[in-house]
Amino acid sequence: MIDIKKIKIQVEQSNTLGELEALRINLLGRQGVLNSYLKDIKNLPLDERKKQGEELNCLKEELECIINKKIESINYSLILEKLKKDSIDPYLPPFPINIGRMHILNRIINKIIQVLERLGYETVEGPEVETEYYNFEALNMPIHHPARDMWDTFYLNNGRLLRTHTSPVQIRTMESHKPPIKIIAPGRCFRKDNPDASHYPIFHQIEVLYIDKGVSFAHLKGTLEYFARSMFGREQEVKFILSYFPFVEPGAEVAVKCVICKGRGCITCKQTGWLEILGAGMVHPEVLERQNIDSKIYSGFAFGMGSERIAMLMYGINHIRHFLDNDLRFLNQFKFSLED
């Protein structure tokens, strides 16, 4: 009879597909051992024949199974051997994938817009090359008004000027829209300032204007509190410091608790614990009346801030020149997941 144990060992010891094939032919082939036993069965009595036939079939199946398993295992090793050629070193430097980035200044502007859009403000724009009328006169600064000196202005050879603030957009909006008006106007402004760490003749502002029935100073304060908290953290407080801008009355500078030292006093806040971040006030009735808005029915507030200043405070940027220098080492510091 066949020694199954011995065959199993033979199969185990075969290392190539050729050896296994030879073994298979020897055992299971037409001329193989198993067939020779089957031929012999014919001569046995019926009972015996049936019994032995069944046994031999079982044996045949078992042998086929053993051999196939081994073939599979060898095939697997062969494929593995091939795949090994693809092996990598995960520690090698990864491929330098690119990423695009928006300028940090525009990201800050977008953040401010987002915060205010939640309150229903709509973004509008105005021209950088402005007229005296929009930049000064309509903002309650007639030709010889001394407040015009608060903004050193660049004048152009076409009789116009470069806007010194985004406030002209207030007027342009009042001209084209009836109240209620609720706008944000971001944009570039120009002042003939000598450059230093926090001033540059070209800078960006964001203007906010809200005109409706019954708008009060408390509404201005509430809006600024919401704004400061959205920008600088839940705990933020705002402080009003009386100031003067001819197009608002009353006018104020608004300060927030220093974002660097949290109000304890540091170099950035000059030890005061507070940082002035924007100018604000109630729209001057004269400004409204000039645009045919009845100041007895409507009132409003406006505020404006320098985008560079906000960005500098949020990220501790020490010099305004970085914004227009476009050194990629600067621009690439502000990663995708920046909390903005």
Binding site: R101, V129, H144, G214, F217, A218
Partner: protein
């Protein structure tokens, strides 16, 4: 303006300057820009009288003085001195051995072989820092009108603190010590120990004939004649007050005018009476044809009819409210003078100041609209001082002014209006207590406020609300978020915003450059706007293109060792009108150098790919043309490589250009800088995007696609645009996509070009069979043959 706290305390003795009062002042709009502490840094300094001055025997630039110390024995002290502003008889501060100067004890010293028994002192040594008092450091302090008992610290009024306070342009009433004291008394609830009250002026007739051309230019003028003048130096106490306020003492009479200006805020002027012809003073506009005046600052000015002048019978002697004439100025030997105290209109002063380019303490105040009643008060104060100090004899005063010099304003409002405006719940008595320094009447709950003549800023109810708010404290008003109305949830994103985020998605980094450029930089581009008053030559024009600066940005970064750049900028430019512009710049390779050696070189086609992507994603329908530009300036087009550039066209209009930078432009930068590719597109302002077309879904075909490749050769005169247009003109069924997948130029002797296309076909109804595809391919081949195509292969 500078305010000496000691001087302020003459009016508000209870003023205590500390952190708390400082904060209150700041919240009320008095921003303290600087604080100069003048400490008492010396001890036992005495006053000496210079008895004799002799040259130092050994050192030429030194003097040897013998000094008698006041109130002590008669023995003379021998003191060596380096300053030369002293003369015999002068009284000076002296530090004797044992006294302390700047925390250092003084000892007897030998200076160049001579014993010096002390030191004559300058202001610097007495603790006045030179950087704040530059005008006052010209040698030894010469004391005037001091007695034996006077103490030097008393004369110098030390210790003291000088506050530099920012004054808003609408608060002319704060431009004086008295005005500031009055304000501090209100804010800090202090008592004014001395007050000056303004009254309606009265006309008077003196020796001078006064002719005022227009009372609108000059609502008030007063001319006093003073004779028997003694021109000398002012008493030290006055000189020190002037110095502390940043004013330079000149002589007793000029100093009086400055003293009164600092004290009360009204500029005064004195003329040497000899310059007056026929006793006439005329306040008139400059001559239409112009007239010349040599001014006190030694500059010759042309005065025209936009400038108000003070003139005598035949000629001008000063510019009203701005500066006097040199010839009419006070001399050492002046014995008779004219004292002017006047009110000029802010408009005329401002226009003259701007035209002449001279800004003075006087013009600064007049421009800010002074209390018209102040001029008479100040004149009386000056005359009183002159008389008191015995500087001269007052002969008479001529005064002339506009009727209704000050029209009293009446401001009405109710308590409800206050509360509605501020968003508060103030009671009437709370409002009343915040108005106690302003005249008001209360009828029921209606307030009627009559602001004093010096509060030029109080005109409308809102001005009073501000006053109430600041006295109550803005920080005590509650914050209320307004109801969210006007919910503009349409969320309009304009083209600029879309472009910016699309380019960021395409891997571009945004840069932001200045709008102001130099002549050289922008010379290739359309005529930019010129600044009339630029800060510097580098920033003298408003850009007409973004390209020069984005190129500079690239070069700066390349010089810093960056090799690859994929950057863009969006900004405003000016070309006939203000427009938005987009600039793209690529150079180097797409990826940074890597060991995998995988990369893509940036080139023209990469850039046109970006433009194509922009066009498709934003539905802009941009086209690229290789024509000679017709609308765009050819000079600008020469910014690019003559054989590697193209126009960007939209709806038949050239709206931009792109290509490789003209190698001549960056020739000097070679080899640091490789090929740079740039594009610029202009959008009309305001941006009107065409990209609001509704995008609708279409169903997807469930059947497989069939791809066929087709190679054809074309003669050199046929360009790809001809081929593409031909293909587009053929009606091809099932066509899903066309790709150019291979290209050979100079393919054979005839310089033909071979193009290999991949066509993808797909049907929505069924799987395409060979016959259907073949029919379409045949159509394409037939079509392309009509423009010179020859089939090479058909797979």
């Amino acid at each position: 303006m500078r305010f000496s706290i000691n001087w302020l305390k003459e009016f508000i003795p209870d003023f205590n300057y500390n952190d708390k009062t400082k904060e209150t002042l700041e919240l009320c709009g008095l921003e303290i820009e600087n604080e100069i502490k003048l400490d008492l840094s010396f001890k036992d300094v005495v006053i000496g009288e210079i008895h004799k001055i002799a040259p130092h025997p050994k050192k030429k630039n030194l003097l040897l003085t013998s000094v008698k110390i006041l109130g002590s024995d008669t023995s003379l002290k021998q003191i060596v001195c380096g300053a030369h502003n002293i003369k015999e008889g002068d009284k000076v501060p002296v530090a004797l051995p044992g006294s302390i100067i700047n925390q250092v004890k003084l000892e007897v010293k030998e200076i160049a072989g001579i014993i010096s028994e002390g030191m004559l002192l300058s202001l610097k040594e007495l603790g006045f820092p030179e950087e704040y008092f530059p005008k006052s450091h010209e040698g030894i302090v010469i004391l005037k009108d001091v007695s034996d008992e006077d103490k030097i610290e008393k004369i110098l009024s030390l210790p003291d603190v000088i506050l530099e306070i920012k004054i808003f342009p609408n608060r002319s009433d704060l431009l004086s010590i008295y005005g500031m004291a009055r304000e501090l008394a209100t804010i800090l609830d202090l008592t004014l120990s001395k007050s000056y009250l303004c009254f309606e002026p009265s006309e008077s007739h003196g020796p001078v004939k006064l002719e005022i051309e227009n009372f609108n230019d000059c609502p008030y003028y007063s001319a006093s004649v003073i004779e028997d003048l003694k021109v000398t130096d002012s008493p030290s106490i006055i000189q020190i007050k002037l110095l502390k306020s940043g004013s330079r003492p000149i002589n007793n009479l000029v100093d009086i005018t400055n003293y009164v200006m600092l004290e009360l805020g009204q500029p005064l002027h004195v003329f040497d009476y000899r310059s007056l012809q026929e006793d006439i003073v005329r306040v008139r506009r400059g001559k239409f044809s112009g007239e010349n005046l040599m001014c006190l600052d030694n500059s010759m000015k042309l005065l025209d009819d936009s400038i108000l002048v003070i003139a005598t019978a035949n000629e001008s002697i000063g510019v009203a409210g701005i500066i006097g004439g040199l010839d009419s100025g006070m001399q050492k030997n002046t014995s008779k003078m004219l004292l002017e105290s006047a009110n000029f209109s802010p408009e005329i002063i401002r226009s003259g100041r701007r035209k002449l380019g001279i800004s003075t303490d006087a013009s600064y105040r007049f421009e800010r609209d002074l209390d018209p009643y102040l001029a008479e008060l100040a004149r009386n104060r000056a005359l009183e001082l002159i008389q008191e100090l015995g500087y001269g004899v007052i002969t008479g005063t001529t005064t002339s002014f506009k009727k209704l010099l000050h029209i009293e304003k009446i401001i009405n409002f109710s308590a409800t209006e206050v509360n509605n405006f501020l968003g508060t719940d103030l009671t009437i008595s709370e409002i009343e207590s915040s108005l106690k320094n302003i005249n008001y009447e209360l009828i029921n709950d209606n307030f009627i406020v009559k602001p004093p003549s010096h509060r030029r800023d109080l005109e409308i109810p809102q001005d009073i609300y501000e006053e109430i708010g600041r006295i109550i404290g803005y920080n005590k008003i509650p914050g209320i978020l307004p109801p969210i109305t006007n919910m503009a949830f349409t969320h309009k994103i304009n083209l600029e915003t879309n472009l910016r985020s699309l380019l960021v998605n395409l891997g571009f980094t945004e840069v932001i450059n200045t709008s102001l450029v130099s002549e050289d930089e922008i010379s290739l581009f359309e005529q930019p706007l010129k600044l009339i008053n630029p800060l510097s030559k580098d920033m003298s024009l408003f850009r007409s293109s973004l390209l020069p600066k984005i190129l500079t940005t690239a070069i700066n970064n390349l010089k810093f060792g960056v090799k690859n750049l994929t950057i863009f900028e969006i900004g405003k430019i000016y070309r006939e009108t203000e427009k938005s512009s987009l600039a793209l710049l690529i150079t180097g390779e797409l990826f940074s150098n890597n060991w995998l050696k995988t990369n893509i070189k940036h080139d023209f086609y990469h850039l046109s790919g970006v433009l194509n992507r922009i066009s498709e994603e934003l539905n802009l329908n941009l086209q690229i043309y290789n024509n000679v530009p017709s609308q765009i300036n050819m000079k600008s087009y020469n910014f690019f490589h003559p054989f590697c550039r193209a126009l960007i066209v939209k709806d038949g209009n050239e709206i931009g250009y792109f290509g490789e930078i003209n190698p001549f432009l960056i020739a000097e930068l070679k080899p640091q800088v490789g090929k740079i590719f740039l594009a610029e597109l202009f959008f009309d302002f305001p941006v009107k995007p065409d990209n609001h077309k509704f995008t609708s879904f279409y169903d997807l075909s469930r059947f497989p696609s069939v791809e066929r490749h087709l190679s054809l050769t074309f003669p050199p005169e046929v360009n790809f645009r001809n081929i593409r247009e031909k293909i587009d003109s053929i009606k091809i069924k099932y066509l899903e996509n066309i790709n150019l997948i291979d290209l050979f130029t100079n393919f054979d002797d005839e310089n033909k070009t071979s193009y290999t296309f991949s066509f993808t076909f797909r049907s929505k109804e069924n799987s395409l069979n060979e016959a259907q595809v073949k029919e379409e391919i045949e159509k394409i081949i037939k079509g392309l043959k009509t423009i010179g195509g020859e089939l090479r292969g058909n797979i």
